[in-house]
Amino acid sequence: MDAATIALVGLSHHTASIELRERVYVDSASLRDTVRRMMESTAIHECVVLSTCNRTEFYLHAADPASAEAVAIGTVAARAGMSPAEVETCLYHRHGHEGVLHLFRVAAGLDSLVVGEAEILGQVGDAYELGLSLPESVGPVLHRLFQSAQAVGGAVRSETSLGRGAASIPSAAVRLAAKVFGSLEGRSAMVIGAGEMGITTLRCLLSEGISDVLVANRTLDRARETVAQIGGRAISLEDVWEEISDVDILVTSTSAAEPVVARDKLESSRGQVGSPLVVLDIALPRDVEPGVGGLPGIFLYNIDDLHKVVGATEEARRAEAAPAETLVADHATRFWRWYRSREVGPLIKGLRAHGEAVRLAELERLLLGLDGLSESDRDRIEAATRRLLNKLLHPSTVALRQAAADPNAINFLDRLREELGLAAVSPRSEGVMEEEIEGSGPTNGSVATESEEANETRS
């Protein structure tokens, strides 16, 4: 059996502090280079990097998983400024079915701090899209894996109640602001950085009655575009300090590498303002200097704090997550069957070729001893042996497909491969191989597709 498998190396809020996650985070600008460098390793056939504020994960399809993981660990260590041994303590590894299950759980929001959050599904899609835009980064395995992950994420949200009323970072931000101000009716808010998360948070605040909105962005045009959609006033980053004294809630969501809100500047700008200021720093790396939280009348919360706020809600949601877990596990099993069946395809093909060779040899021997047969009789005998072969191979083909998903059958399949004299599967030629598999089989030769597997599972 081929040693190639799906491997995952990653760190997340479960295993790493926000400081480490900040260092390891791969922004969209450097994501291409990171993937490209990883693909230079011959051990890696396919690679997708999923990097969000909560996790950085390397999904690999590799002929040599150990070497491929070493490349990923080296990449993480370099970004973290640590040795591979040091960073290893914060990493997790998943192989094969476990890796598939992990990605599906991530896409479904089951691995998120805020269980059921919807943002992660979009981020999984973005990681996949970016992989597609890079040559050879996404092949048939990760292509199908990420498409399936997105389908699972959608199914969980539409078929279970996990997504309903799910707490999110924006809703946590609203709750925190409400614990300071009570009603948010008539309050003012400023958003620095017109990114998606910042604007989503702003929309949440607006739905709670925020009346005065300022949107500051590095490029004023982008800020103007945003206020054209949601209302408010666009300002440049330079004007932030003039306006900040009249603001009740400040949301920062830029992609700046350095903090954009400095303690000294905020302190001098706010002066003796009597009302409090809630600062919600939802950016990673953080936009606000941690010392800002020590200023009187200022309540500073970063992304980890927002996650804590909904911690209790998450506990309640975990209890509601059981149906989603079942759905995810079902999809992961289906995917894994497909993955293993694409490896068993050449076996089926080899078995059929072997049978066909035996049939033709035996047919030739038989016909040599039967002189005087008419052409139509010969055709009838030939058709009978073909039907006989198909009927004999059909149960074997079905059994092989089932064995593909059974970890205990690996030795049996390896032995069969040896008996048939078949070489290992080349992961980079799977597209061709899949087509070949589709054409083989007992009656029409097809190996179970994912939908067929689903039907089997349901029945």
Binding site: K179, F181, G182, V273
Partner: protein, 270 residues
């Protein structure tokens, strides 16, 4: 019957407090059940005092038992009035123990006339005691808000999103309750003290500075004057005002206990 009604009110208030405690332990915002039970307690309590007034043809303002019960009623009224706003239902967590303490004291010492009723009557006296009680009740509400503010403020600053964060109201709501409590309580206390002074003048006497009640009133008035002043200073005032309000309550409580212990007429000075 009067004692029976007071005991029933005590049980209802205690139940309401337990419900509040349960909500606090779970870190959930208080529900309507605690408020409903406290409201029932207030109704029974008021019925008990009404029965006292009808039975003895005298307002329950004189004597430790009746006076404690009346003060408890005023504080309970404040707690319930605050609970009209959903986000301030949690105020009962701090106000109900005060109510229970005063009501328990009233039940223990007895809710009966003291025999001094003839001396302590007339409109000035009624105004004096009623205003003082409203003043104390308002200040108790302001203090409860201040204490909760300090806890909530620290929970928010320290990012501790547990019971205090979940159960206690928003800082702004607590600041408003503190403001209203001071705005009602301080003038009422001032009026009460002035009315008391005027009342003593009718006997040809000046301000009775040797009386524990007078000392307590003046100490409380001074403590809350400081709390009001703290609110008017520029800059972020929330925590500062809350801490000073809480300290003012502590000063009043210490003064009350010290006078109870040292004054010979301790059981009467309320």
């Amino acid at each position: 019957m009067i004692i029976g009604l007071h005991l029933l009110a005590f049980v209802l208030y205690a139940t309401a407090w337990v419900l509040q405690l349960r909500g606090f332990r779970r870190g959930r915002e208080p529900g309507i059940s605690g408020v409903t039970v406290a409201g029932a307690g207030l109704a029974v309590h008021a019925a008990g005092l009404l029965l006292y007034a009808l039975s003895y043809r005298s307002l329950p303002l004189v004597g430790l038992g009746p006076a404690s019960s009346s003060l408890a009623l005023f504080i309970s009224l404040f707690a319930l009035a605050a609970s009209v706003r959903t986000d301030l239902r949690a105020a009962g967590l701090f106000l109900l123990p005060l109510v229970l303490l005063l009501l328990g004291e009233a039940v223990v010492v007895g809710i009966e006339p003291t025999g001094r009723q003839i001396a302590f009557r007339g409109p000035w006296f009624v105004l004096h005691v009623s205003a003082i009680f409203i003043g104390y009740a308002g200040l108790a509400a302001a203090s409860a808000a201040a204490i909760m503010y300090v806890f909530q403020f620290r929970a928010l600053k320290r990012k501790e999103f547990g019971s205090v964060f979940g159960f206690f109201p928003a800082l702004d709501s607590l600041d408003r309750l503190n403001k209203v409590g001071l705005a009602v309580g301080f003038p009422a206390l001032s009026v009460g003290l002035l009315a008391g002074w005027s009342w003593t003048l009718t006997f040809g006497r000046g301000l009775a500075l040797d009386k524990p009640g007078t000392i307590l009133g003046i100490v409380t008035w001074g403590a809350y004057l400081v709390a009001i002043t703290a609110r008017s200073r520029p800059g972020p005032r929330g925590e500062r005002a809350a801490v000073i309000s809480a300290l003012a309550f502590l000063v009043t409580l210490v003064a009350f206990l010290a006078l109870q212990i040292t004054a010979r007429e301790a059981g009467f000075f309320l």
